[in-house]
Symmetry: C2
Subunit: 344 residues, 2 copies
DNA sequence: TGCGGCCATGTAATCGATTACATCTCCTCC
DNA sequence: GGAGGAGATGTAATCGATTACATGGCCGCA
């Protein structure tokens, strides 16, 4: 082990040049003649030199680090997006800092801690549930560093975002069910404050209406994205007389809970009722019955969000505030089937 | 908006003191008289001052940041641990940097990038699958910054670690099944390179033997932690004549795949065979049948790992290389039942 | 009274890079 | 032949904190 960490000056001495030249080789090699460049690169190798990030950050006033605000780190839903983010950022030599936005009330304080302190050059927000006060803090941040929403977003907040085509996903489900003969549709929603949940619910109403299906308020049940919400909904669903033959749930978890609850109540899926989810989480495939759902490329959404942020960070400040909408795919499995004649 | 970010000097002027005093108030208030302290704190408030991390890091040669090496960020299994880490670190004003260790070959390079560059003061490794060359790089790192393993670990590598009591979990499952009357046990293992997998397999053999059960090599199937591995195992299991009546799987996913495969083959769980998982992931509860499995507090493991790292970072260099073993819990559900008389 | 010591505070060096500006060399072109 | 410009490199200022060392005031004690 070398006793002390080598510094630019050590590299410079070994290569017989000045520290400025070493720095140039590291940051913009084209400025330096080939011979010098090679000599410096060799010296870097020989000394095992690594730039001191803190020093560079101080001087350049950048951190080459991006902060991801995740609503709930322990929710597997987000890990895929994180993975996509990380890959893309690392490829550009950026690092990824993560924080749970439900943790400390995000608010100005949490954000300032990272942004004003210069710990992060940009922000990727996976959380659309931001209250008014926090939004104001965010507005202020927006003036300072680029921000991109991924997956979720806040309506009316002028800022680039990457999201799945939630509406199209619901359309696919409605069409799929329609073709199976279903005419009465029910919906179990996610949390009413959540933007994904609202979009899906709106799309549900829209496409059922377009198709000319029977749409009733009483068949649109509240919930949140949890299994528990599905179970609760199941109690209601099991008692409905002449109710929907097909239930579109705002998440796979809800669908799991709903199906589990229905099974307990003696209602069979898909024989008696069809049920669909949304997200295509890993378990949908082995669930019994395997769940018909909508797949979104969460990894790619992460990639894309990172790319958009990097794009802004690398200077071209033409910010596209138009949302980037990623395609979704219908995955038809066994939880949906032809409408039962007895129930038409 | 203030035109420029306030700096210590601005705070110092406003409070009528020197920058040194401001810094003292921020870092060790006890050194400063009460009157001055309050004046400075007020000035900090009034200016909206935030320390520049890069400058502080440069001077103190610390980053107040910890790097988590995650084998596969998109695996939900790790998100819980991350969450625990993050919470604990944030409470001590540390930040969490994450990187996917499967991403770039971790190796010296990836590590150096963070550690030698001073981007992280410590390392939390969630990945036990580290090859020999990488281990050497890691040894070198160990001399520089504290390292803690969480959940997984590398055997024979002298370094603190936090892990679940894998062996005890398997014992609980064996005992649970034994009491249900089972005497012939099978195991579907995880990847052979994985330390958790090996521990669980060893424990399986050990406790079946202790109980006096029938233990055969042919009943210990290879696999990895995936659903797919369970499905593959199912093909084999379905053909066994007079085979095990109870199957202990190294992960919940394997159990899902196994049960799904068995169901397809017309074998009923738990009527014909009992099956258990390991981990108690969220979906176990709604799976049909609900899965008997072992629960571990992944969140708390994250907390504990972070605490141990912080402990080292905060100076008390008494490193406990003894692993910290966290308790696990049996969650008995419907995938296990009394042994079928016809199969005893 | 005077000395030693403690406490609170200030002055200025320092961390390790990047980069504005200066310098020097070598060409080109009139 | 000389002005001017381009290209390569060096010198030294700079980023914004922390902290070693210096200073000054005050108290207690001989």
């Amino acid at each position: 082990m070398r006793s002390a960490k080598p510094k630019v000056i050590d590299v410079a001495r070994l290569a017989g040049v000045s520290t400025a030249t070493v720095s140039r080789v590291l940051n913009d090699p084209s400025m330096v003649s080939e011979a010098t460049r090679e000599a410096v690169q060799k010296a870097v190798q020989d000394t095992g030199y690594r730039v001191n990030r803190a020093a560079r950050n101080l001087r350049t006033n950048r951190s080459r680090t991006v902060l991801a605000l995740v609503p709930n780190l322990s929710n597997p839903f987000f890990s895929n997006i994180l993975s996509g983010l990380e890959r893309e950022l690392n490829a550009s030599d950026y690092s990824l800092l993560v924080t749970d936005s439900s943790d400390v009330t995000l608010s100005s304080d949490q954000l300032q801690r990272y942004i004003s302190a210069g710990q992060a050059d940009g922000l990727i927000i996976l959380d659309g549930d931001i209250d008014q006060r926090e939004l104001e803090a965010l507005q202020a941040v927006l003036a300072t560093v680029p921000v991109v929403f991924a997956c979720e977003w806040v309506e009316g907040f002028a800022c680039p975002s990457v999201r799945a085509d939630n509406s199209e996903g619901i359309r696919m489900l409605v069409d799929h069910l329609w073709e199976l003969g279903h005419r009465r549709f029910g919906h179990v929603a996610g949390p009413s404050t959540n933007v994904l949940s609202r979009k899906r619910q709106e799309a549900f109403a829209k496409f059922v209406r377009i198709r000319g299906g029977d749409l009733r308020q009483a068949w649109m049940l509240p919930g949140n994205f949890s299994i528990e919400a599905g179970k609760i909904a199941a109690k209601k669903v099991a008692t409905l007389q002449n109710g929907p033959t097909a239930w579109i749930c705002a998440s796979d978890q809800i669908a799991f809970g709903l199906i589990a609850g229905l099974t307990d109540a003696g209602v069979k899926v898909p024989d008696d009722l069809s049920v669909t989810g949304f997200d295509n989480i890993e378990m949908t495939e082995v669930f019994n019955p395997p769940l018909t759902t909508i797949h979104q490329h969460r990894n790619k959404m992460g990639n894309e969000a990172a790319r958009q942020l990097l794009h802004q960070l690398k200077g071209s400040h033409k910010v596209i505030n138009e949302p980037t909408v990623m395609p979704v795919y219908l995955v038809a499995r066994k939880s949906t089937g032809p409408v039962t004649q007895a129930r038409v």
